[in-house]
Amino acid sequence: MKTALFWIFSVAALGGAVGVVGNVRNPINSALNLVVSMLALAGLYVLLEAQFVGLIQVMVYAGAIVVLFLFVIMLLNLRGSGTSGAEVQPLVKIAGVALVAFAGLFLVRVLASGRAPWPDVDPSYGTTRAIGEALYTDYVLAVQLAGVLLLAGILAAVVLAKKRVD
């Protein structure tokens, strides 16, 4: 059951990722493929007993960030360039092909290395309580720093938007 789900989610995640890059005509299709990929990733997290991370993945990435992408695409009524990479420099093309080849080789190697058993984890692993305790005891400095960073981001967005209004 778990293995079947793993395959479904993995194929969906990879397929979605390919779809994001492949849809040059229609940005909306790209964004929707991104949603599929995000949801599949969330499924993989849940399979790895990290339910909290999986749900946050759905809530933040699939449910908010990509919605904002779509919102901007709709608002600006963007159409794809349609020129599927004719003006891309040859060096970039070569680098892209090399990267894809490398990733493909890596994927094949991982798949060929055989199946690892599903890990047995403590039932408290990945619960909200465990994550909360870890975040606010061991990693409290990182949480604070991330908070400051996000606050700076919000302030920067306000400043930029306000300049446009004034």
Binding site: V35, G63, A64, L70, F71, L75
Partner: protein
């Protein structure tokens, strides 16, 4: 999966989908008619039986299923096809984590009246709810219609804004209960606390004073967090985009907004999604703020212990279970009535008013609530532990 879980899931499906949603269309018609001094739905009949207009939901369904299913030219066919399903599925599956009773053991079988008792229950609801945005948003875009487009821009902005408010308003409650699990919240809300207990700790009354033990309140969410209850309900109703928050479909401005190009049962799916969402909102509010399946001042354990003496443990559990289901759905029905009352009392907000309410009123208030709740918790802990 245990057989009892399947029964519970089936029960929820039948109650929510087949009873609540259709009957609610009737209730809504009759209630609005009552409020506007009309008679309301009373025309549909089978062999002369009108049943107070209760045939109308049936007539609606037949009409919607037999209507022509149109596909506008220039529409994105696939997205236009799947959008109603994306919109209705989250509403249907979100009731899975809402408990409508505790766990009961009778005749050797264990009945837990919640389909999926997840550790992160409320978070699951929020995550599922955030997916529902796509159903509405893509619908307006896929139909190749300018009004639909305006509707989908409005719906995405509104739903994203209120998702923030929804998440932040209830953090105070999570801090008090220390859990995201809805069944655990239901258990915790069966406790009571002494309203004047603080006088005992401050030394204002002589130790051993009896009367402060008598004046108690149930530890319901609405008692502990009264303002967030209303803020949370407002945010949920805005997320459900029914009147007075129905700017995305505002028929006087943008005809029907995001579902303008839908006909027949696909349009019906949007309506059904909204109605099911009303039930889910009521269930969530009842489970988090109104004590879930329990009656105030009556912890379920005490009730079962009391009933076990004359009837035996099995019958006592069965009775407690039936009572719990009735109490829970009683609360749900009351909340549904309240939501309909709001819907038919208030005119539609202007779009900027909707946005201002979300960002400038609900968000700052709920952030202040988090700080105040944290201070309150620290004070209570400090006093009771010293």
């Amino acid at each position: 999966m245990a057989t009892s879980t399947v029964f519970v899931a089936l029960f929820i499906f039948v109650v929510i989908m087949l009873v609540f949603a259709p009957v609610m269309t009737w209730v809504e018609r009759k209630q609005s008619a009552l409020m506007q001094d009309r008679i309301g739905a009373n025309r549909a009949e089978i062999f002369g039986f009108k049943a107070l207009g209760l045939i109308h939901p049936l007539a609606d369904v037949i009409k919607m299923i037999t209507k022509e299913d149109t596909m506008p030219t220039g529409a994105h066919r696939f997205i236009h096809l799947i959008s109603p399903f994306i919109a209705v599925t989250p509403a249907v599956i979100s009731f899975a984590v809402i408990p409508f009773g505790g766990t009961y053991e009778m005749w050797g079988a264990k009945f837990s009246l919640v389909v999926a008792d997840l550790d992160y229950g409320v978070l699951y609801l929020f995550a599922i709810g955030s997916i529902a945005t796509y159903g509405s948003m893509l619908a307006g875009w896929a139909g190749n219609n300018n009004f639909g487009m305006l509707g989908s821009i409005r719906v995405s902005a509104q739903m994203i804004s209120y998702e923030v408010a929804i998440g932040v308003t209830v953090i105070g409650l999570f801090m008090i209960f220390g859990t995201l699990k809805l069944s655990e919240m239901g258990e915790l809300q069966q406790q009571t606390f002494r309203v004047f207990g603080f006088m005992h700790y401050l030394g204002w009354v002589a130790p051993g004073t009896k009367w402060i033990d008598w004046i108690t309140l149930p530890m319901w969410g609405i008692v502990l967090q009264p303002l967030p209850f209303f803020m949370f309900m407002t945010a949920l109703m805005a997320e459900n985009k029914r009147a007075p928050f129905d700017t995305p479909e505002g028929e006087s401005e943008i005809v029907a907004g995001y579902f303008i190009e839908y006909s027949g049962m696909k349009f019906g799916l949007y309506m059904m999604g909204e109605w099911i969402e009303v039930v889910v909102i009521s269930g969530l509010l009842a489970a988090m703020f109104l004590g879930g399946w329990s009656l105030p001042w009556l912890p379920e354990k005490d009730l079962i212990a009391f009933l076990s003496k004359p009837f035996g443990a099995n019958i006592a559990n069965l009775m407690a279970m039936l009572l719990a289901v009735h109490v829970f759905f009683g609360k749900v029905i009351a909340l549904i009535f309240f939501q309909m009352l709001v819907r038919w009392s208030m005119p539609r907000f202007r779009y900027d008013q909707v946005m201002n309410l979300g960002w400038k009123i609900l968000l700052p208030l709920s952030l202040a609530n988090i700080v105040l709740t944290a201070i309150g918790i620290l004070i209570v802990q400090g006093v009771t532990h010293s």
